[in-house]
Symmetry: C2
């Protein structure tokens, strides 16, 4: 008679977060959490929180704000019951004076009563929608990270935060680009529609084969480049602002919320008044 | 004391149709009718009506069907009270054996008890939406007709009807093309989103400066070509089918309905079950 060992159901966000919190899961979160909304995390001292809040609200395409914590409070109850931002992400980056200093799996030792956490929408939501819509995602098919580029499109500065808009690139046929624009427009909290397509030089990208972040792109015959505002933009703004301390998620190691991605816009519109 | 002569209010569709019917208005309808939905007209003998109906339903992007008359009935009550298709369009084309034979201002003399009329959505609806959305329309700014091209994109044949998809071209910047895709997707009964953008050769267009219908395009620096399925496609199908008799509107001289363009999709979805 076989012995069955109960496995945690990592498609359930609270279970996944509990496994992360217990130190049994420290990898990338893509594909886990059963299609729940995932989020970028930025944590800053309260003295900079007002500037950063205004930066996000002035730049909603790269920095769609999902939730903001109370100072010193590591919870984000609108995104999930019992979330503890100090331990519920698999990996974090600690930034000092605008430079990445350290990668850690929990931030309890860095927590302070003046820290404010910002959850920012992430492209995983719209990539699910694109895939369901039959749109090819070349980087995922090739097992690569999405290519990302600093552009000549400036963000709107707010206080000490400024810098270039960072974009992600997804090559696809022209008809797919049209369909992707329509689909992604339904997800304003996940970067929305593309910001550019076609000639990369028009947004200040010199060489597609040399992205500033991520892996080189994969093009098939007939593909055109399609560019989305990217959640790495806040990290470029942190580099520009050089705060003494900032904490972010490590790339790909996101906050997994309890919100179904397809319903997140509607839920948050009621909860936070973002829409 | 000045004398005022009452002028008919041509922004009201029933008034405009009455002026047309009385022979006092025989020009293009663009800009008249106060933003009401305008329609392409195709009239065919009942023996071909089943084939053409299936052709429209198989090719909804170029041939979005708004209404179909009963055989011999020149009214289309779902599109406007009192419409008389024999006299309410400014100009008609009479086709014999697939060739345009004659342009007339009314078709009472050609009407037969076996004729069936088809009203097909028109690009005027989405052009209004694009203009309101701040999207440039180069051909209108230059006072030109939109350029149209026969493509290598085949329609789905139905009975004797077949032929190429005809597309219209609107040059605009890439960011406007993204926004136009999103806006036009809301108007499936007015050709919907673009079918292609970028390289014309990929849909079989050899030379943009030599359109098959309409005027040459106007490009500004940074513009890319954006292509929509076009209501001229049914005329190409009539050429292919070579019916003994067909009647259409003359280009630009449309049926002006009573439906506000922005609400037409919703109204017709209830009335005709098209959605």
């Amino acid at each position: 008679m076989a012995t069955y060992i109960a496995q945690p159901d990592l498609s359930r966000p609270p279970v996944l977060r509990a496994e992360i919190r217990a130190g049994r899961f420290d990898g990338p979160t893509a594909g886990f959490g059963g299609g729940a909304l995932q989020a970028n995390l930025v944590i800053l001292p309260e003295v900079l929180a007002g500037d950063f809040l205004r930066f996000c609200q002035a730049n909603p395409r790269p920095c769609p704000l999902l939730a903001v914590s109370e100072p010193g409070d590591p919870r984000l109850p609108t995104l999930g019951e019992g979330i503890d931002l100090r331990r519920d992400l698999p990996r974090y980056h600690i930034w000092r004076d605008g430079e990445m200093a350290e990668e850690v799996t929990e931030i309890g030792a860095f927590w302070r009563n003046d820290l404010v956490a910002f959850a920012i929408g992430c492209s995983f939501s719209f990539e699910d929608a694109l895939r369901e819509g039959g749109i090819p995602l070349r980087h995922l098919d090739a097992g690569r990270n999405v290519p990302m580029y600093r552009t000549a499109l400036p963000t709107r500065p707010a206080g000490c935060f400024s810098g270039p808009t960072v974009v992600s690139l997804r090559p696809m046929p022209a008809a797919a680009a049209i369909e992707a624009s329509i689909l992604c427009a339904r997800f304003p909290l996940a970067h929305g529609a593309p910001v550019h397509l076609g000639d990369p030089a028009m947004i200040g990208i010199a060489d597609l084969d040399r992205p500033d972040y991520g892996d080189a792109p994969v093009f098939r015959h007939g593909d055109i480049p399609v560019f989305w505002a990217c959640g790495v933009t806040p990290q470029a703004a942190i580099v520009a602002a050089r705060p003494a301390l900032a904490i972010t998620h490590a790339p790909g190691h996101m906050l997994v919320t309890d919100l179904p991605a397809g319903q997140a816009e509607r839920v948050l519109a009621g909860v936070c008044g973002l829409a």
